[in-house]
C-alpha cells in the first residue's frame, strides 16, 4: 500500500511539474538545478529555492517601498539594480514567468514609466505568489515521497 502511495505521489509530482512547464512558470533551468542535487547536497534545490524566496521577498519589499516614494525621490536606477538581481536569481532557479515580468518591469523603469512599474510590480507580486505556492506544493510532495520511500522497501537501490 505504501509503495503504491509513493508511486502515486511521484506521478502527482510529475503532473505538477508538467503543468508548471506547460504554463511556462518554470523552464529547463529548474531541471538543471535538480541535477545538481545529489547525495552530497540532498536538499540543494529546496535550499536554493528558500534563499531565492528570502531574497526575492526582500527585493519585492524594496521595490514596493521605492515605488511608493514621492515622485522626487523615486530612483529608477535603484529599481533597475534590484530588478537585475531579481532577474539573475529568477533565471538561476528557472522561474521563467517571473523573470519575463522582471524584464518587462525593467523596461518600464528604463523608460521612467512609474505607472508601468507599479503595474509590473503588481503582476510580479502576483506571479511571485503563484510560484511560491506551486513550489511549496512541489516540495511538500517531495517530502511525502521521501517519507514514503523511507518506509518502502528499497527495490531499486
Amino acid at each position: 500500500m505504501l509503495g503504491l502511495d509513493a508511486d502515486q505521489l511521484r506521478a502527482d509530482m510529475n503532473r505538477l511539474l508538467a503543468f508548471l512547464f506547460h504554463q511556462g512558470i518554470l523552464d529547463e533551468q529548474f531541471l538543471q538545478l535538480q541535477q545538481l542535487q545529489d547525495e552530497n547536497s540532498p536538499n540543494f534545490v529546496s535550499e536554493v529555492v528558500n534563499i531565492y524566496f528570502h531574497e526575492s521577498e526582500k527585493l519585492l519589499r524594496n521595490l514596493r517601498s521605492l515605488l511608493t516614494m514621492d515622485r522626487e525621490l523615486l530612483s529608477f536606477d535603484k529599481i533597475g539594480i534590484h530588478l537585475n538581481q531579481f532577474i539573475g536569481s529568477s533565471s538561476s532557479i528557472g522561474a521563467q514567468r517571473v523573470r519575463n515580468i522582471c524584464v518587462a518591469f525593467r523596461a518600464a523603469s528604463d523608460n521612467n514609466n512609474r505607472t508601468g512599474c507599479l503595474r509590473s510590480l503588481e503582476v510580479l507580486e502576483h506571479e511571485h505568489c503563484i510560484l511560491k505556492n506551486k513550489l511549496h506544493e512541489l516540495f511538500q510532495i517531495e517530502q511525502q515521497i521521501l517519507l514514503a520511500a523511507a518506509v518502502r522497501y528499497p527495490v531499486l537501490n
Binding site: M13, E122, H126
Partner: protein
C-alpha cells in the same frame, strides 16, 4: 512659281506685242508703198501725158479697185499744187472754187493744194485745200522737201471722227536729179498724194484677225514729241494690268515721226492654280503639322501636368499612408499600455474572492481584453509591414524548440478540444538556422492558432521538411489526391495523424513513410550531397500545418489572404477574430523569401504550407555558445543511448513520437501494438542483447485502450521475465486527454510511472523522463557521465572563487562547481573578492558576476589585473633571470552574465577577463569556457 509665271506672261506679252507691231508695221509699209506707186501713177499719167490720162473718174475707179492693196487707208486723194497766180485759171478749169477745210471759199494764200482726184470713200474732200489744215499743210511742206512719205500726228479725221493720221506723198512733175536739193524738190513738186490712215478702225481690224485679241490691250502712240505722247489707238485711260506692259517701236517709214506700240494684258495676271493650290496645300499641311505639333505640345503639357499632379497625389497618398501607419503604431502602442494595466488588474481581481457572477464578468472582461490586445498587436504588425518598418533579424535559432514552444502555447486549448497536436521536423533540417525566430514563431502561431480555432475533432499537424525533398512525391501524391480523395471519404480510416481525413493527402502515412525512408536512403547515399548542401549558404524549408477542421468554403478561398476578410461574416460570429492574421502571415512569409499556399476542402480540413528561406548556421559560430543560449533551449543530454519502444497503431503519430525521442538521443523502435512490443521484449530476453533492450516503453493511449488485455499481458509478461533481471522497462502512457477514470485504470494497468500529456515537446518529454527515471539519471546516462566526468577531471581539486552579489546565484554556481569536485569559496561583492585575492593567494580561477552594485565585475577585474602586473614587475625586478620564471600571476577570470550580447563579450575581454559563461550555468558551456585554460594549466601548475 509665280515668278516663273510672271516671266512667262511677260514673254508671251512681249512676243504678242512684237507680233502686232511687226504686222502693223508691215501692213503700214505695204500701204505706204502702194501710195507711193499711186504717186508715181499720177505723175506718169497725169503729168507726163498731155492731155492727162487720168481724171476724177479714172482715179476713183482705179483706187477703188486697188483698195484691197491698202487695207490701212480709208481712202486716198490727190491734191494739185496751185500757186496763187494760177488760182483763177485753175478754178475756171475745174469749175469750182478752192475751199478750205471748213468748206468755205479759200482765202488768198501763196499757194493752194486743192484735191482734184479722190477715192470715192473720201470724195467729200474734193476741192478742199489741203494746205488750209494745219496738220496737212505741215505735212505737205515736209513731204515735198524730203521727197518721202510723211505722216501727220494723229488727229480726228474728217467724216469718221476716228483717230487717224494722214500720209502725204509728194508728186514731182519732172524727173528729179539723182541727188536733188530741197529747192529743186520744191520747185518740181506738182502735187501731193495723201491718204488717211484710219488707225483706230484699221488696227482694230488688224487685231481682230489675231488670236489672243481679247487678252491684251494695245495702245499705239505717236511719240515724236517725247514729252507728250499722242495716242493713235486705244483709250488713254483704260483699265488693265498696269504692272506689266511691253513697248514696241514702230517704224512707219517717216523718219521724223516716231511711233510706239504699248501692250498690256486686259486682266491682271490670274494667279496660277497650281501655285495657288500648292500654296493652299502647303498652307493646309503647315496648318495640320502646326496643329499636330500644337496638339502634341498641349498633350505633353497636359501629361506633364497630370504627371505632376499624380506625383503630388502620390506623395500625399504616401504621406497619408505613412501617417496612417504611424498613427496606427502610435495609437495601438498607446492602447496597449493601458490595456496591459486593465489585464493585470483583471488578473488580480480574479484572484480575489468573487461571487460566481462577478467572476464570470471579470473573466469575460479578461478574455475580451486579451482579444483586443491580440487584435492591436496584429494591426500594429500589419501597419509595420505596410510602412516597411518591419525588419527581420538574422540570428541563429533552433527551429525545433520554437515549434515546441508554439505547440505548448496551444496545448491547453487543443487538449480541451481533444485534438491531437503534433510537430515533426525532418532530420535533414539543420539544427540551427539563421533567421528571425520571432517572426517564424508568429507565422506558426497564426497558422496553428487558426487551425485550433476551426478544428473540433481530429488533429493539427505541423511538419517541416527541407524543400528539395518532397517535390517528386508531391507530384505523385497530387494525382492520387485528385483521383480518389473525394470519392472514398466514407468510413475509411485515414492514415493521418489522428485517423481523420485531411484535405491534403500528402501528409498521410504513405507519403510520409516515403519521405522518411527516402531520407534514410539519402543519409547513406548522399553524404557528399549533404556536404555540398552545407556549403550553400541558405536552406529552403517547407512547412505545412495540417488540420481536420471545417475547411474554407470554395468561394472564399481566393480572399483568404486579404486583410479583414474571413470566409464569411458568420465566421467572426462563430469563431471570433478579425481575419487579419493570415494576411500578416502572408506578408511575413514573403518577407522571409518564401510563399504560402493552402489546400482546403470544406468539412474535411485545410493544409497551409509555406516555404521559407533561412541561412545556414556555421558550426564555428555555434560553438561559442553565446548565441545558443538566447533562443535554443538545451535538451538534457542525459538520455543519450537509452532505448525505447513506442507502441502506436498510427504510423504518423509514432513517427512524431520517435522524432521527439530521437532529439533526446534515445534509440527508438516502433511497434504496432502491445503484443508485438511484448514479443520484442521477449525475444530480447532470450537472445540476450542482440536486439535492443528497452529502457522505456511508451504506449499510446488509443493502442492501450484497444488492446487492454494485451497490456495486462505485457505487464504480467514483464514482471515474470524481468523478475530476475536487473531493471525493468519504464511504462509511460502517452495521451492527448485523459479522464480520471482512465487514469485510474491506467495506473492499475501498470502505467504508474507517468503519463505524458500531449502535445509532445522534447523538453517536456525530457522532464517527464527525468522524473520517471528518477535517480536513474546517473545510472544509464553514460553520455552525461562523460560530460560531467570530463568536467570533474578538469575541475577536481581546484579552488575557485565565485563572486556574485546575488545569493541565489552564488549558491547555484557554487553548487554546480562543487558537483564537479571543485572547492568553492564565495564572495558577495567586488571588494570582498579583491580582499580574498590579495597576492599571494591560492585560487585557481574566479567566476565573476558583471552586474554588481558598488564595484562591478569589470572594475574588479581591472583592479585584480593591476595588482597582478605590479606583482609580476616586482618579481621580474627582483630576480634578473626573469626567463627562468615559470609562471606569472595571472588568475583566470571568467565573467558570469545573463546578457549574451557580443558587445558584452568584447567588454569582458577588454578589461582582462579570460572568457565568460552565461548565467545560469550549463554544463557544456561551463566545460567549454573552463577547458580553454585548464588544459594547459597543469603544465604550469605543478
Amino acid at each position: 512659281m509665280d515668278a516663273d509665271n510672271k516671266v512667262r506672261r511677260k514673254e508671251v506679252l512681249s512676243s504678242m506685242c512684237e507680233q502686232r507691231a511687226r504686222m502693223l508695221q508691215d501692213q503700214f509699209s505695204v500701204s505706204v508703198n502702194h501710195v507711193h506707186a499711186l504717186a508715181i501713177l499720177v505723175s506718169t499719167f497725169h503729168y507726163d501725158k498731155d492731155p492727162s490720162a487720168i481724171d476724177q473718174d479714172t482715179f476713183a475707179e482705179y483706187t477703188a479697185r486697188t483698195a484691197f492693196e491698202r487695207p490701212l487707208l480709208s481712202g486716198v486723194a490727190y491734191a494739185e499744187r496751185v500757186k496763187h497766180s494760177e488760182r483763177e485759171k485753175f478754178e475756171r478749169q475745174h469749175d469750182w472754187t478752192i475751199k478750205t477745210m471748213k468748206r468755205e471759199p479759200s482765202p488768198i494764200r501763196d499757194e493752194y493744194a486743192p484735191v482734184i482726184f479722190s477715192q470715192e470713200t473720201v470724195s467729200y474732200i474734193e476741192s478742199l485745200d489741203m494746205m488750209s489744215g494745219e496738220e496737212d499743210r505741215e505735212n505737205i511742206l515736209r513731204a515735198r522737201a524730203t521727197g518721202k512719205a510723211v505722216l501727220t500726228s494723229p488727229f480726228r479725221l474728217l467724216g469718221s471722227h476716228h483717230l487717224g493720221v494722214v500720209l502725204t506723198f509728194p508728186v514731182y512733175k519732172s524727173k528729179l536729179p539723182s541727188k536733188p536739193t530741197v529747192e529743186e524738190r520744191i520747185e518740181a513738186t506738182a502735187g501731193y498724194l495723201g491718204g488717211a490712215f484710219d488707225v483706230e478702225s484699221l488696227v482694230e481690224y488688224l487685231l481682230g484677225q489675231l488670236a489672243g485679241n481679247q487678252a491684251i490691250l494695245v495702245n499705239v502712240y505717236d511719240i515724236t514729241n517725247s514729252s507728250d505722247h499722242l495716242i493713235m489707238y486705244g483709250h488713254q485711260n483704260q483699265d488693265g494690268d498696269l504692272a506689266l506692259l511691253h513697248e514696241s517701236q514702230l517704224d512707219f517709214g517717216d523718219p521724223f515721226r516716231k511711233h510706239q506700240m504699248i501692250c498690256r494684258y486686259h486682266q491682271k495676271a490670274t494667279t496660277s492654280w497650281t501655285a495657288l493650290t500648292t500654296a493652299f496645300l502647303f498652307f493646309v499641311i503647315c496648318l495640320l503639322v502646326g496643329y499636330i505639333l500644337y496638339g502634341a505640345a498641349i498633350h505633353i503639357v497636359k501629361v506633364e501636368d497630370d504627371f505632376h499632379e499624380m506625383q503630388e497625389l502620390m506623395v500625399r497618398a504616401e504621406a497619408a499612408d505613412v501617417a496612417k501607419s504611424q498613427f496606427l503604431a502610435t495609437v495601438s502602442h498607446e492602447i496597449r499600455t493601458p490595456m496591459n494595466g486593465i489585464l493585470g488588474m483583471l488578473a488580480l481581481l480574479l484572484d480575489t474572492d468573487l461571487s460566481s457572477t462577478q467572476r464570470d464578468y471579470a473573466q469575460t472582461a479578461q478574455v475580451c481584453g486579451k482579444a483586443l490586445i491580440t487584435l492591436i498587436n496584429e494591426v500594429l504588425d500589419r501597419a509595420k509591414i505596410e510602412a516597411g518598418k518591419l525588419e527581420l533579424e538574422t540570428v541563429p535559432f533552433d527551429l525545433r524548440s520554437i515549434l515546441d514552444d508554439v505547440l505548448s502555447l496551444f496545448s491547453e486549448k487543443s487538449r480541451n478540444k481533444g485534438l491531437e497536436l503534433a510537430v515533426f521536423v525532418s532530420d535533414k533540417v539543420p539544427e540551427m538556422v539563421m533567421g528571425d525566430p520571432g517572426r517564424f514563431r508568429q507565422i506558426i502561431t497564426n497558422l496553428v492558432g487558426n487551425s485550433v480555432k476551426f478544428t473540433e475533432r481530429g488533429h493539427i499537424f505541423v511538419e517541416v521538411h527541407v524543400a528539395e525533398n518532397p517535390k517528386p512525391i508531391d507530384d505523385a501524391k497530387a494525382e492520387t489526391c485528385l483521383n480518389g480523395g473525394a470519392l472514398i471519404s466514407g468510413g475509411r480510416r485515414f492514415n493521418t495523424l489522428s485517423g481523420y481525413e485531411a484535405a491534403d493527402e500528402r501528409n498521410s502515412w504513405d507519403s510520409f513513410q516515403h519521405l522518411v525512408t527516402a531520407k534514410a536512403l539519402q543519409d547513406d547515399a548522399s553524404v557528399k550531397m549533404e556536404v555540398a548542401d552545407e556549403a550553400s549558404q541558405s536552406v529552403t524549408l517547407m512547412v505545412s500545418v495540417e488540420d481536420t477542421g471545417i475547411g474554407i468554403p470554395l468561394i472564399a478561398q481566393h480572399r483568404v489572404f486579404t486583410p479583414f476578410m474571413q470566409a464569411d461574416s458568420s465566421t467572426s460570429r462563430n469563431y471570433g477574430g478579425t481575419g487579419i492574421g493570415l494576411s500578416i502571415t502572408k506578408c511575413l512569409v514573403e518577407l522571409m523569401g518564401g510563399h504560402i499556399s493552402f489546400i482546403s476542402r470544406p468539412q474535411v480540413g485545410s493544409t497551409f504550407s509555406f516555404t521559407t528561406v533561412f541561412g545556414r548556421c556555421e558550426k564555428a559560430s555555434l560553438g561559442v555558445g553565446d548565441t545558443k543560449k538566447s533562443n535554443a533551449e538545451d535538451l538534457p543530454s542525459g538520455f543519450r543511448g537509452l532505448k525505447a519502444i513506442v507502441v502506436d497503431g498510427k504510423p504518423v503519430r509514432a513517427a512524431v513520437t520517435r522524432y521527439h525521442l530521437k532529439r533526446l538521443g534515445i534509440l527508438v523502435e516502433v511497434a504496432n501494438n502491445v503484443k508485438i512490443a511484448a514479443s520484442a521484449c521477449g525475444k530480447n530476453d532470450s537472445s540476450c542483447g542482440s536486439k535492443i533492450q528497452p529502457d522505456i516503453v511508451l504506449v499510446e493511449k488509443d493502442s492501450w485502450l484497444s488492446g487492454e488485455d494485451g497490456s495486462m499481458n505485457l505487464r504480467m509478461f514483464d514482471w515474470k521475465h524481468n523478475g530476475h533481471m536487473f531493471k525493468l522497462p519504464k511504462l509511460i502512457l502517452l495521451a492527448t486527454n485523459i479522464t480520471n477514470a482512465e487514469l485510474e485504470k491506467a495506473k492499475a494497468a501498470g502505467f504508474a510511472d507517468t503519463t505524458i500529456m500531449k502535445p509532445l515537446r522534447a523538453s517536456m518529454v525530457a522532464a517527464c523522463l527525468q522524473q520517471v527515471l528518477g535517480t536513474g539519471k546517473r545510472q544509464p546516462g553514460n553520455g552525461m557521465l562523460n560530460g560531467s566526468s570530463v568536467l570533474g577531471g578538469l575541475l577536481c581539486g581546484k579552488k575557485i572563487l565565485v563572486v556574485d552579489d546575488n545569493m541565489v546565484n552564488r549558491r547555484v554556481a557554487a553548487g554546480a562547481l562543487k558537483k564537479f569536485g571543485a572547492a568553492v569559496e564565495c564572495a558577495e561583492s567586488g571588494k570582498a573578492a579583491l580582499k580574498l585575492l590579495q597576492l599571494p593567494h591560492s585560487f585557481d580561477a574566479c567566476f565573476m558576476d558583471i552586474q554588481m552594485p558598488e564595484m562591478d565585475g569589470f572594475e574588479a577585474t581591472r583592479r585584480i589585473r593591476m595588482m597582478e602586473t605590479r606583482a609580476n614587475e616586482q618579481m621580474n625586478g627582483d630576480t634578473d633571470q626573469g626567463s627562468v620564471r615559470k609562471d606569472e600571476w595571472h588568475l583566470p577570470i571568467l565573467a558570469m552574465t545573463a546578457d549574451v550580447i557580443h558587445a558584452t563579450y568584447d567588454e569582458c575581454l577588454k578589461c582582462g577577463m579570460d572568457g565568460y559563461v552565461s548565467k545560469p550555468f550549463e554544463e557544456e558551456n561551463l566545460y567549454q569556457a573552463v577547458a580553454k585554460f585548464f588544459k594547459t594549466k597543469p603544465v604550469s601548475d605543478s
